[in-house]
């Protein structure tokens, strides 16, 4: 009897354990984790990794793709189990949190800083004076529309030098709504339930209004910043978009512009290929409006980092050097339509070189990109902002919602002893 039991439990253990061949132990395998992306980017990554592996016979690269929706939780679970891969992708604002938790190590101790000199700042994950991550590209959000749509209401086509003002933008929306052709004229992307998207997409608008998420000088308090007067002005404007039915809180899919349900869509450069296919020359890619303190868009996209538990730092470093070489950056930009992280790589592409039709993204990224707060509290900030913005959209009093966000952020900072590094954890 006892033997039967032990046997059955044994087989159960073995049969489940055998499929958890996770990275962690040493050996000649370089484990690489990346978040799930669009098919073009995924294919480009695969080729990049294949080119890296081709020249190396002493070890193999094992690359795994993790769904983006649960990527942070997967990293957390792996870290708790002590089986983080050697190399992993990380969303750039998460870098300080990963450093604080001890997941990743400084790249500049593995690779000479000189190697990063030509990389644009938004593509570098820096914290406490070290470089922890590097990306091949940046992304940029823009207003997408059609030339014919703007012509219909005789609206001025804005430029990088002279973007729409808030008054102009509101006027465009009002006129578009008045044509009756669109039930709502604007898709802001609010169907996306991911807090980090809300921070990426809408906190730059807050900055353009003159506000911010947190006091950037100290990164210790959000009170008076996220709920300051500029933030209240942003909130009133944001709420009005939905109250006036200028934007829908939940589009049934992400094809609103493509299918003609809206006239303007606020979305990223990764949508450009599809929209260009659909609209050709009629497609317009415009900078977001200037709400008073300059145009702002989110800077920093997904980047690569090396885990602190990595047992093959030399190979990991070689991998990082490989992926930031000019041909690799150019290849990614060409294949996936992402904004190259260096000018040299941009010049090697059709679309991002000077005069190329997607150069506008490159220029916008260089001119308007603003980093998100570099603090381990970012997740708390992002969640608080997400809830506040959603509540404002859904009709909560904007001042209350923003005060709640300020309190939640300050509470989280206090709960975690100011996110003091592990070394000075005792008080």
């Amino acid at each position: 009897m006892r033997r039967i039991l032990r046997l059955s439990i044994g087989t159960l253990l073995a049969s489940t354990a055998s499929c958890t061949d996770k990275p962690g132990a040493g050996g000649r395998v370089l484990h690489v984790w990346q978040h799930q992306t669009g098919p073009e980017e995924a294919a480009a990554n695969q080729q990049m990794i294949a080119r890296f592996a081709a020249g190396r016979h002493n070890f193999v690269v094992n690359a795994q793709t993790i769904p983006q929706g649960s990527y942070p939780q997967s990293i957390m679970a792996a870290a708790m189990a002590g089986r983080l891969p050697c190399v992993l992708t990380v969303d750039s604002p998460m870098v300080p949190a990963f450093v604080w938790a001890g997941h990743i190590r400084p790249l500049d101790t593995l690779i000479d800083r000189q190697a990063f000199a030509s990389i644009a700042p938004p593509a570098l994950g820096q914290y406490q004076g070290h470089i922890y991550s590097v990306g091949q590209f940046d992304a940029a959000l823009a207003i997408f529309t059609r030339r014919s749509t703007l012509a219909q209401i005789h609206a001025r086509i804005p430029t990088l030098a002279q973007p729409w003002t808030r008054a102009e933008f509101d006027d465009v929306l009002r006129k578009l709504k008045a044509t009756g052709r669109w039930q709502v004229p604007l898709d802001l992307g609010t169907r996306e339930p991911n807090p980090n998207w809300w921070t990426y997409a809408y906190s730059p608008m807050l900055q353009s209004f003159g506000g911010d998420l947190i006091d950037r000088k100290t990164n210790r308090t959000a009170d008076g910043v996220i709920n300051g007067a500029p933030a209240r002005a942003w909130a009133a404007w944001f709420h009005a978009l939905f109250a006036n039915e200028w934007a829908r809180r939940l589009e049934p899919d992400d094809q609103s512009l493509m299918r003609g349900r809206v006239a303007l869509a606020y979305t990223g450069n990764w949508r450009a290929p599809d929209l260009e296919k659909a609209f050709g020359n009629d497609l317009l890619i415009l900078p977001p409006p200037d709400f008073g303190h300059g145009v702002a868009i989110g800077g920093g996209s997904w980047q690569w980092a090396v885990s602190s538990t990595c047992t093959q730092p030399a190979q990991a470093a070689a991998f990082i050097r490989h992926l930031i070489s000019t041909p690799e950056i150019a290849a990614m930009a060409t294949a996936a339509g992402m904004i190259p992280a260096t000018e040299a790589a941009a010049q090697r592409t059709q679309r991002f070189r000077k005069g190329g039709d997607w150069r506008v993204f490159y220029d916008m990224s260089r001119a308007f990109a603003r980093p998100r707060p570099a603090t381990p509290a970012f997740t708390a900030i992002s969640n608080a902002w997400y809830h506040a913005a959603r509540d404002i959209m859904d009709g909560t009093d904007p001042r209350d919602a923003l005060d709640d966000a300020a309190d939640a952020i300050d509470q989280s900072i206090a709960d975690n002893n100011g996110y003091a590094p592990a070394a000075e954890k005792t008080k």
Partner: protein
């Protein structure tokens, strides 16, 4: 089935049929809509919604959504995970719980009453109440792995194991088996023991063969719970490798905008349960009615 009311005019009967049919529509139409939408492209689903076409297989009907879902969503491996989890949980659960119930119902030992009382108390602790600390617990349990050699990993997170082992032992199943075993006359055991049988043989050759319906009932209740499991894997299985079907559907639903594909996924996820329901309907019904009255 007896009729509580005998004298009834035809009009009342017609009215009752009308109400019964109305409820059939209410209960069936969402599923019909799901299946029909799963064969249509997004544009047409939106277009058909204004009319009864939403419930009919008309227009550009194809298997394209299914092809796309199978190719892109990972549904195949999620379904395998769910099947493995369900079969393992039910298999191990039937054995472990019935054996414990046998000890409680058919063997005499000191402390039996106490253990039985404890099990009844455990019946009322829902998974929800302990899910958060249980996550911390399973995050520090060891598993064996094979990475070059035998390795021990100190975490059950992101495994299929973590979706099986905690649900094998089940207070409700034990209690249900216990009640059923108690109803079997003792003479059977006695006769077998007189013939020199061991208690395990009595269990295996006397009790189990007499309890087919009970086993089917417990298998259905535990199996359904395992297949439809959601809260627990949401907490402990973040990455795709060990992900079960329902978490896959939720992810797909949140990050996918092709409604036809979402409906195709939902249809595929429902199909096994639906088939099981059609074939084993009698037991499904019996399981609820039995557990309801006795529990």
């Amino acid at each position: 089935m007896r009729r509580p009311i005998n004298s009834r005019t035809a009009a009342v009967r017609v009215g009752l049929y009308a109400i019964a049919l109305l409820f059939v529509i209410v209960f069936v139409s969402p599923f019909v809509f799901m299946v029909m939408a799963s064969f249509k492209p997004n544009q047409q689903i939106f277009g058909d919604l204004g009319s009864f076409r939403a419930f009919l297989p008309v227009g550009a009907v194809s298997l394209q959504n299914y092809r796309d879902v199978i190719a892109t969503s990972g549904i195949g491996s999620y379904a395998l995970n769910s099947a493995f989890i369900t079969v393992s949980t039910v298999g191990a659960g039937l054995f472990v719980n019935s054996l414990a119930a046998f000890a409680l119902a058919r063997l005499e030992w000191r402390g039996k009453g106490l253990v039985l009382g404890l099990i009844v108390i455990m019946l009322i602790i829902p998974l929800e109440a302990i899910a958060v600390p249980m996550m911390l617990l399973v995050a520090s349990l060891p598993t064996l792995g094979f990475d070059g050699g035998l390795t021990i990993q100190w975490s059950w997170l992101d495994t299929r194991l973590v979706q099986i082992v905690p649900f094998v032992a089940n207070a409700f199943s034990i209690f249900f088996f216990y009640q059923a075993f108690n109803d079997i006359p003792r003479d059977f055991d006695e006769a077998a023991y007189v013939d020199g049988a061991t208690p395990y043989q009595v269990f295996r050759h006397v009790i189990v063969p007499l309890s087919g319906t009970t086993f089917a009932t417990v298998a259905i209740i535990q199996g359904l719970a395992a297949w439809n499991q959601y809260l627990w894997p949401v907490i402990v299985v973040p990455s795709a490798e060990a992900r079960p079907l329902m978490v896959g559907l939720q992810q797909f639903f949140r990050f996918q905008t092709e409604w036809g594909e979402v409906m195709a996924y939902a249809t595929l996820a429902t199909l096994p349960v639906f088939l099981a329901f059609v074939f084993f309907q009698r037991w499904f019904v019996q399981s609820v009615m039995g557990s309801g009255v006795k529990g």
